[in-house]
């Protein structure tokens, strides 16, 4: 909670947090918030402009754009968050094991990570989607497969720092089990690191999933998704360019809020990174994180 207080001091971060929280909440309560069913076609209202019943107008099938935007939060943001959570848990668990026990298991896990990280992210996603077929589930699966190694690698480094700390040694002497030590003494210390990497890849994943849907590799037709909405708007781009606006702006707002939040989080949790440090390792670590971020988009 101290963390939240610190974050709130930064106004931009507070605003970003509000935007992200509101988006998640609206997405969760989509049926309550959306004014119309998202797939309700109404051919008389094709390409209708904004009106009091349809705030953002209607698309090429006369569906309510606002409602589709609201329902689109689910695949575009909520499911991405779920995939991110799964990747973080899986990666963090393996990272814990590797960093805590060391030895052979560490060596094996890290070699696997090396291989996973040597595939560029976008190529990996395309490979999995290509083999399993297009669809939201497969993209989410690809995200988990692609990201866990990154989490495992970073968590391992963090855990290694703490595994040798005096209080951990003391806990061992007291006879507390491995699981107890990991839970009580190491997991909490590694939490900031996990949240920083997770939040920094969140934005790029949102961009990526909408990009894949835009290409027709993502979610299937009647469902609303932001990239999909733009894909549908693309065919009438020259006559009705305004249809591209709503989903595009939604993505920009959410992604920049997430990115701001991630930067603010990093500053609060790790002040060393904010001021230009002298140690090369810190610098390069921060940079690579930035690179990973962009790898997707």
């Amino acid at each position: 909670m101290k963390l939240l207080e610190k974050l709130m001091k930064d106004r931009l971060a507070a605003a970003s947090l509000a935007v992200v929280a509101a988006t998640l909440l609206i997405g969760l309560c989509a049926p309550l918030v959306a004014p119309h069913p998202p797939n309700e076609a109404n051919m008389e209202l094709r390409f209708a402009g904004a009106s009091w019943t349809y705030w953002l107008g209607n698309d090429h099938l006369g569906r309510c754009i606002l409602s589709r935007l609201i329902y689109g939060i689910r695949p575009s943001v909520l499911w991405v968050l779920a995939a991110l959570g799964a990747a973080a848990c899986f990666g963090a668990a393996l990272g814990f094991i590797a960093g805590y026990f060391r030895g052979r298991i560490d060596a094996v896990l890290m070699r696997i990570c090396d291989v996973m990280l040597s595939f560029p992210g976008y190529v990996m996603t395309l490979a999995i989607v290509g083999m399993l077929g297009a669809g939201l589930t497969n993209i989410l699966l690809a995200f988990v497969v692609m990201k866990w190694a990154w989490f495992a690698r970073v968590i391992r480094t963090t855990v290694m720092q703490y595994a040798d700390a005096d209080y951990v040694k003391f806990a061992k002497v007291l006879g507390i089990g491995h699981l107890g030590i990991m839970k009580r003494h190491i997991a909490l210390a590694a939490l900031p690191e996990i949240s920083v990497i997770a939040s920094s890849s969140f934005g790029s994943m949102i961009l990526q999933i909408s990009g894949l849907s835009f290409l027709g590799l993502g979610i299937e037709a009647p469902h609303a998704e932001w990239g999909m909405m733009m894909n549908e708007a693309r065919s009438v781009m020259f006559t009705r360019p305004e249809l591209m606006l709503a989903p595009g702006l939604a993505i920009i707002v959410v992604v920049s809020a997430v990115n701001f939040l991630s930067d603010a989080l990093q500053k609060v949790l790790d002040p060393k990174l904010a001021v230009s440090g002298k140690r090369a390792s810190v610098r390069i670590g921060g940079m690579l994180r930035g690179l990973r971020k962009k790898e997707a988009a």
Binding site: P120, G130, M131, G133, N259, S276, K293
Partner: protein, 310 residues
């Protein structure tokens, strides 16, 4: 230095073998039987079990996995990735020209990205905290949050349709490079300029700058020194950037109908043309690993401190 290079290259071989094996195994992930896909693609009206068995034998799928992998690897080394399921042409005859086109796009874009991000990074670092720095950073932040295809659509709409200045698709003239390159550059320059900027800033805080200043060295000369040291980081960053850009032109290529890898791959995924997808993954993964190694070696050549790490 020679030892370092040797070690790096030595570490490459097992990695490449594992990558190629993973790419090969990837095919097995598919829920569909390749033999069936081939028969469907060739438009065979009724698919019998015998026909599937015959096709499987023809594709060599009835042999053990490792033997198939060995054959596939040997063939791949000679750029023989088999035949496309859909067109029946050799995969390389589709992939080769597409790779070349994507390379052209990537190299032109990378050139602009390097120049633009070094220029912006240096200027912003020297003017740290001033309005120029703040505004460039603000704009770049916004641009990196923007989906590339959205930006592309806006640009097509404005420059190609409204102003009728530039072609919207294909790669017939030099003019067709302008829009795709612009979209890629806008997406990446914002990231890489920040890297250059922070590298410049941390160098500006080093003791040698303070010492130089104390000795009365001119600011211009100092800036040149700092720039030289910061560019070391730039080399490794751009070494990593090129394969990343190569792999991520997919969306841009699709919008501008660029006859490159991205267009080919998306069409192959939609048509379930597995050999093409497999070849694409292998080629890009190998390119990624090679570029990484080259940039590591170049970095070590410039900065002896890094050689000890291995």
């Amino acid at each position: 230095m020679a030892l370092y290079t040797l070690k790096r290259v030595g570490a490459l071989t097992p990695l490449l073998v594992v990558i190629s094996f993973l790419t090969f195994v990837l095919n097995g992930l598919s829920p569909m039987d390749p033999a069936e896909v081939v028969l469907h693609a060739q438009g065979v009206p009724t698919i019998t079990d015998e026909l599937i068995a015959a096709t499987r034998a023809e594709l060599g799928m009835d042999r053990p996995l490792l033997i198939r992998y060995g054959d596939w690897l040997l063939a791949s080394l000679q750029l023989d990735f088999g035949d496309s399921f859909i067109t029946g042409k050799p995969v390389w005859s589709l992939l080769g020209p597409a790779l070349l086109n994507t390379m052209k796009l990537t190299l032109v874009s990378s050139l602009f990205i390097v120049v633009l991000s070094i220029a912006l990074g240096v200027v912003c670092a020297l003017k740290e905290g001033k309005w120029l720095d703040l505004s460039v950073r603000g704009v770049s932040f916004l641009l990196t949050s923007m989906p590339a295809y959205w930006l592309a659509a806006l640009m097509v709409w404005y420059f190609a349709v409204k102003l009728d200045l530039l072609p919207t698709s294909g790669m017939d003239t030099a003019g067709s490079y302008v829009l795709p390159v612009a979209v890629i550059v806008i997406g990446y320059a914002g990231i890489y300029f920040r890297v250059i900027r922070s590298s410049m800033l941390s160098n500006l805080n080093e003791d040698y700058v303070l010492y130089g200043r104390a000795c009365g060295m001119s600011e211009r000369k100092l800036t040149l020194y700092v720039l030289r040291n910061s560019l070391q980081v730039a080399v490794s960053v751009f070494g990593l950037a090129i394969p990343i850009i190569l792999g991520s032109t997919v969306v841009v290529e699709n919008i501008f109908a660029w006859p490159g890898l991205g267009t080919l791959t998306v069409n192959s995924i939609l048509g379930r043309d597995f050999p093409v997808i497999q070849a694409y993954v292998l080629v890009l993964a190998v390119a990624f690993v090679l570029f990484n190694t080259v940039s590591d070696v170049m970095n070590a050549a410039m900065n002896p401190r890094l050689r000890k790490e291995l």
